[in-house]
Symmetry: C2
Subunit: 277 residues, 2 copies
DNA sequence: TAAGTTATTCTCAACTAGAGTTGATCTCCT
DNA sequence: AGGAGATCAACTCTAGTTGAGAATAACTTA
């Protein structure tokens, strides 16, 4: 991105400008990082090493480097999310796996007293990754781990009210809940599921991604037909997997992500009807 | 929302906590307020009364009241958006029209030098309203008006690069572009279009909303059938409009919004195929 | 080798979407 | 007043999509 050039006659104004005139607010980024392990959806959590909420699990995240008046150290929000993710997982931010994972902004949470220390606005990001190595605690985290989402007992009502879910600090239960809903929706109309797989995958592997995220079983035959019929979703490699199904069956064929950015027509969740009203 | 209670043994920590340790950032809200006038989509814009970008058009918005250490004046982000919208339009924030318009968070924009004064993070909101009165300039705005979206000459490429569209200040062309895309998508799978209409509307009126936002004509017969077939989208009042079509035709029937929160099956844009890759 | 599992392909009925048609009702113009 | 043209609402027809089930072949494990 280029910078909008301030008008020339604004220079005097800018010199006299005092940022402290406006209420200062701290801005953090929090990351909902999702992956699939053993067929189940997992989220990356860290255990807080200091107050507030010391000892509780939380989403990885931290303060955005604002850069001060000189703007020297300033970073974009998405860059801050990548940095936090790298710090917490011990993976290097440049190149490597982290450079290829899908990252998108989820939303911003700024309720007045969501952080007991001060006014903190948190910009949440959603990350999808193929299986990543176990994280190593770093930064302020006492511990870090991939936690099965099911084990958190997130319900609609529990996630809405911060404090009722004692498992996650701040309003992170709510953020995680929003992230999961976003992920479920995105699988419907984008080829995002391929971001959970490696470079090559089979249709049944892709189906297991959908089943893990949506939490329901899909009709194997219809799923297969649908995936192949959506233009640009997947692309055949011509190869077959070197191994049959884990409990028997023929060797499935291998595919890689296609060039579509939207799925049309979309793959709709079977259970969608229940949540219409 | 209730407040997460800090742990008791955190009190000493909180007393010594200095917010200034972290880089201060200012947070603003900007609102993309959309309405339909004369069959065309309009956005609410204000002309900036002071630097930076003095004299240029911008989205209505302003600094969030952070509330300082005491937190007395703190407001939630959505509340700030409603306040800014009320200030710029001259409508009262409590009750009345503004209480009923649809408001949702669009995204957060925080590129390092998007504001020449200092590090500013802007949380953008998207608002949909039935036809509102002409705004009166208020706050820092020199002028305010509903501007036809078509007249802004927004293109994909122009919106991406701040500064290239000299019509809008900051990165507001990009924010507006994202807002329009969000609105177009939301019409597909939510009954949002009814928020552009008043309490009662006809099917052709609803269709004109879709046509204005999507920028393409729809098949009247199929649209009619589709709207009536989606459960909970609209609900008949049993009445008919007191006037026929503007250029002849029978009196159309009146409907009000139904109780569905998602449309299933969705109304898909005809032109979607072109933007798949 | 037998039994069980899985990938892939088919079949069939129900449903959905796009395009066009029809008939009634209204406005506007002459 | 009468006719031309526009519009609403309902209907038809066809092509395509979806969901459920079944058939076939390729593999693993006991």
């Amino acid at each position: 991105m280029t910078t909008p050039e301030p008008e020339r006659d604004e220079s005097e104004f800018l010199a006299r400008y005092d940022p402290r005139e406006y209420d200062p607010v701290s801005v953090t980024v929090d990351v909902v990082a999702l992956t699939i392990r053993d067929g189940a959806l997992h989220v990356l959590l860290v255990r807080r090493g200091g107050p507030p909420y010391e000892g509780m699990w939380a989403l990885p995240g931290g303060f955005v480097h604002a850069g001060g008046p000189a703007g020297a150290d300033a970073e974009d929000l998405a860059d801050a999310a990548v940095r936090e993710l790298a710090e917490e997982t011990g993976l290097s931010a440049k190149g490597g796996v982290i450079g290829r994972i899908h990252l998108e902004q989820l939303g911003t949470y700024g309720a007045p007293r969501r952080d007991p220390r001060m006014r903190v606005i948190s910009v949440a990001y959603l990350a999808f990754a193929p299986e990543l190595p176990d994280p190593e605690a770093g930064g302020d985290a006492a511990d870090a781990a991939w936690v099965p989402v099911d084990a958190l007992g997130l319900t609609e009502s529990a996630a809405q009210r911060p404090g009722t879910t004692r498992r996650l600090a701040f309003d992170h239960a709510r953020i995680l809940s929003d992230g999961l809903e976003r992920a479920r929706g995105k699988l419907e109309y984008t080829p995002l599921a391929t971001a959970f797989c490696g470079g090559e995958f089979t249709i049944p592997e892709l189906r297991s991604v959908y089943e893990a995220v949506w939490g329901e079983e899909l009709h194997a035959g219809n799923f297969h037909r649908k995936v192949l019929s959506v233009p640009g979703f997947v692309e055949s490699t011509g190869e077959t997997s070197d191994r049959g199904g884990r409990r028997g069956g023929p060797r499935p064929r291998l595919y890689r992500p296609g060039d579509a950015r939207l799925l049309h027509p979309a793959l709709l969740r079977p259970s969608r009807e229940e949540q219409i009203r």
